[in-house]
C-alpha cells in the first residue's frame, strides 16, 4: 500500500506567462487547422497579442511578494526570471514579425511558424524560471524541439541540413545534460537547485561526483550557448536556417540558456565555485579567441554573425565566472544588450538578403542603395564590436570590471585582445557598405513593417549605451536569486 500522495500547493500565477504562451500557441495551431484560409497577417496579430498578454503578466510578477519558489519548488519567482522573461518576449515579438515578413515575401505558406515560435518561447521563459533541474531539462527540450523544426522551415536544402545537424548535436547535448542531472542527484539526493546548494555547502561525501555533474551540465549548456569546443553546429545552422528564425534563435536561445546556466552555477554549484571558475575561465577565453579569429575568415554574413555570436558567448562567460552578484548583473546586462543587437543585425540581413544570398560581397555599396539599412547595420555592428556609445560597449565594460574585481585579470586580458581582433571584421563590413561601389544588382527590401521592427532594437541599443542605468537599476534586485 503506497502512502497518500498529497497534491502540491498550486499557485499558477508565477507560470501564467508560460500558460498563456503555450495555450495561445495551441489555440493558433488548432484555429489554423480548422480555418485553412486564415492569412499569415491574422496569425501574426494573434501571436503578438499572446506575447503581449504574457508580457503583461510578467510585468505584474515583478512585484511578487509570495514564496520564493512555487509548484513544489519547481518554479522560481525571483526578479531575475521576470527580467529574462521580458527580454525573451520582446525578442519573440520581433521574431514573429520577421517570420511573417520572410515567408509572406517568399510566397510560402507556413502557418506553423507562429505556434512553434510561441512553444519555443514557452520553453525559454520556463528555463529562465526553473528552479529544479528536472524542469530545466524539460524546458530545454521544449525550446530545442521547436527550434529544430523552425531551423528547417525553408525549401532550400541547406535548411534541412541545418535542422538535421542541430537536431543530432542537440540530442547529444541533451544526453550530456541529463547525465549531469542524474549525477547531481546521485551526489546530493535532490534535483532542486536550492537543495543541491544546501547539500553541497555542508560536509558532503559526494563532492567529486558533484564536480562531474557540474562539468556535464556545463557541457549541455555550452552546446546551447555555442561555447567552444561545443560550437560546431552554430555556423552551419545560422547559415542554413531561414534568416527570420536565426534572428529569433540567436538572441533568444542564448539568453535562455545563459539564464539557466547562471542560475545553476550561481545557486546550485556556488559552494564549488573555487573549482569551477578556472574551468569556466578557460572555456570563456577559448570561446572568445576561436570565435573572433574564425569570424575573420568568413565570406558569408550569416556565418560571420554566427562566429561573432560564439565570441559573445565567451564574453558573457567572463561575467559568469566572477561568481558573485556583480558578475550576475553584468552578465545579465550583456545578455540584454546582446539580444538587442543580434536580433537587429539579423533583421537587417533579412531585409538586405531577402532571397538568402548572404555573401559578404553582396553588401558592397549598400549605403548607396539604402542609406537607412546601412546606418542600422553599422549601428548594430559597432555595438557588437563594443564601441561607445552603444549598449555593446557598456556590456563589455561591465563584464570586464566584474571579472577584474573578482580577481580574474588574465581572462580580461584575453577578452580585450579578442575584442580588438573582433573589431576588425565588424569594421570591414562597415567599410564594405560605405566605401565600395555596388558590384551587383542589390535590391534591399523596402517594406515598412520590418524596418520599423528593426528600429526598435536600434533605438534600445543606443539608449542602453547612453543610459545603462535603466537596466542596471532593475538589476540591483534582479540579480539576486531567491530559493
Amino acid at each position: 500500500m503506497i502512502a497518500q500522495i498529497s497534491p502540491p500547493e498550486l499557485d499558477f500565477l508565477p507560470v501564467a506567462p508560460e500558460l498563456v504562451l503555450a495555450g495561445g500557441g495551441m489555440a493558433i495551431m488548432l484555429a489554423e487547422a480548422a480555418l485553412p484560409r486564415v492569412t499569415s497577417r491574422v496569425l501574426l496579430i494573434a501571436s503578438l497579442l499572446i506575447v503581449a498578454g504574457a508580457a503583461g503578466i510578467t510585468v505584474a510578477l515583478w512585484g511578487w511578494d509570495g514564496e520564493p519558489t512555487v509548484l513544489a519548488g519547481m518554479v522560481a519567482t525571483d526578479r531575475f526570471a521576470v527580467l529574462i522573461r521580458g527580454v525573451l518576449l520582446a525578442v519573440a515579438a520581433i521574431g514573429a514579425v520577421y517570420g511573417h515578413h520572410q515567408f509572406d515575401r517568399a510566397g510560402e505558406r507556413r502557418p506553423e511558424f507562429f505556434p512553434l515560435l510561441l512553444f519555443a518561447t514557452t520553453g525559454m521563459t520556463l528555463i529562465a524560471a526553473a528552479s529544479d533541474l528536472i524542469l530545466t531539462f524539460l524546458a530545454l527540450e521544449i525550446l530545442s524541439l521547436s527550434l529544430y523544426v523552425l531551423a528547417g522551415f525553408s525549401r532550400r536544402v541547406t535548411a534541412s541540413e541545418a535542422s538535421m545537424k542541430y537536431f543530432l548535436l542537440g540530442a547529444f547535448s541533451s544526453a550530456f545534460f541529463l547525465y549531469g542531472v542524474a549525477l547531481a542527484y546521485g551526489a546530493t539526493g535532490t534535483t532542486s537547485i536550492g537543495g543541491i546548494a544546501r547539500a553541497l555547502s555542508g560536509p558532503s561525501e559526494g563532492l567529486p561526483l558533484a564536480m562531474v555533474a557540474a562539468a556535464l551540465l556545463a557541457v549541455g549548456f555550452s552546446f546551447k550557448v555555442a561555447a567552444v569546443p561545443f560550437h560546431m553546429w552554430t555556423p552551419d545552422v545560422y547559415q542554413g536556417a531561414p534568416t527570420a528564425v536565426v534572428g529569433f534563435m540567436s538572441a533568444a536561445t542564448k539568453v535562455a540558456a545563459f539564464a539557466a546556466l547562471i542560475r545553476v552555477f550561481n545557486v546550485a554549484f556556488l559552494p564549488l565555485s573555487w573549482d569551477w571558475t578556472p574551468i569556466v575561465g578557460v572555456l570563456a577565453a577559448v570561446t572568445m579567441v576561436v570565435g573572433s579569429l574564425l569570424a575573420i575568415a568568413q565570406t558569408d554574413v550569416k556565418r560571420m554573425l554566427a562566429y561573432s555570436s560564439i565570441a559573445h558567448a565567451g564574453f558573457i562567460l567572463t561575467g559568469v565566472m566572477a561568481a558573485n552578484q556583480e558578475g550576475i548583473a553584468s552578465a545579465t546586462f550583456y545578455l540584454v544588450a546582446y539580444a538587442l543587437m543580434i536580433v537587429g543585425a539579423f533583421g537587417v540581413v533579412l531585409l538586405v538578403s531577402g532571397d538568402e544570398r548572404t555573401s559578404l560581397s553582396s553588401y558592397a555599396g549598400l549605403a548607396v542603395r539604402s542609406p537607412l539599412l546601412a546606418a542600422l547595420l553599422s549601428l548594430f555592428l559597432l555595438s557588437l564590436a563594443g564601441i561607445p556609445p552603444t549598449a555593446g560597449f557598456m556590456a563589455k565594460v561591465s563584464v570586464f570590471r566584474a571579472a577584474v574585481d573578482a580577481g580574474h585579470t588574465w581572462v580580461v586580458i584575453v577578452a580585450v585582445l579578442a575584442s580588438v581582433v573582433a573589431a576588425f571584421f565588424y569594421l570591414r563590413v562597415i567599410v564594405l557598405v560605405y566605401m565600395k561601389e555596388p558590384e551587383e544588382e542589390l535590391q534591399p527590401d523596402r517594406s515598412p513593417l520590418p524596418a520599423l521592427t528593426v528600429a526598435v532594437p536600434a533605438v534600445a541599443t543606443l539608449v542602453l549605451g547612453v543610459f545603462p542605468g535603466l537596466v542596471f537599476g532593475l538589476l540591483e534586485t534582479a540579480s539576486i536569486f531567491r530559493w
Binding site: 495551441m26 536544402v157 541547406t158 555556423p235 574564425l294 538568402e356
Partner: protein, 146 residues
C-alpha cells in the same frame, strides 16, 4: 578523490580482457565446419525469402508511427494512474484530464490537417519538395570551423 573511481576502471579493464580472451580462446579451440545451412541468416528456422535490406514500404507509414507514439505514451501514463486512482484522488483526475486534453489537441490537429486520410498524397499543405541548393561559397571556409 579521483582514486575512488579506480575500481570502476579496473572492472572495465577486466571486462574488456575477459571478452576478448573468451572469444579468442573459443575461436582457437572449437571445430569449424561451415555448411550453407549454418551460414544462412536465422529467421525462426524457416528459409529466408527476401533480402531484408531491399524491402520498400510507403513513406506515409511514418505518420502512423508518429501517431502511435502519441497514443502509446498516453496509454503508458494511463495504466499507473488507473492503479493508483484512489490514492491520487481528485488531484490525479484533474491532472489526467489536462494531460489527455493536451494529447487530444495533437490528435485534433492531425485529424484536421488530414494526417489520417490514407489516400491523399501526404499531409495537406505539407512540406514541399526540396529545391535545388543555391550555390554556397565554402571555398574559403576554415577547415577547423566545420
Amino acid at each position: 578523490m579521483l582514486s575512488d573511481y579506480l575500481p570502476i576502471v579496473l572492472l572495465a579493464g577486466v571486462v574488456a580482457v575477459f571478452a576478448v580472451a573468451s572469444l579468442a580462446v573459443s575461436s582457437m579451440l572449437r571445430p569449424s565446419r561451415p555448411t550453407p545451412a549454418k551460414l544462412m541468416p536465422y529467421e525462426c528456422g524457416i528459409v529466408p525469402e527476401r533480402d531484408p535490406r531491399g524491402e520498400r514500404f510507403p513513406v506515409k507509414f511514418y505518420v502512423v508511427a508518429m501517431l502511435f507514439i502519441v497514443f502509446d505514451i498516453e496509454t503508458i501514463f494511463l495504466f499507473p494512474w488507473a492503479l493508483t486512482f484512489r490514492e491520487l484522488g481528485l488531484f490525479g483526475l484533474i491532472e489526467m484530464a489536462v494531460f489527455i486534453g493536451l494529447v487530444f489537441v495533437a490528435y485534433a490537429y492531425v485529424r484536421m490537417k488530414g494526417g489520417l486520410d490514407w489516400n491523399v498524397r501526404g499531409l495537406r499543405e505539407g512540406p514541399s519538395p526540396v529545391a535545388e541548393p543555391p550555390p554556397v561559397d565554402r571555398r574559403r571556409e576554415v577547415a577547423g570551423a566545420r
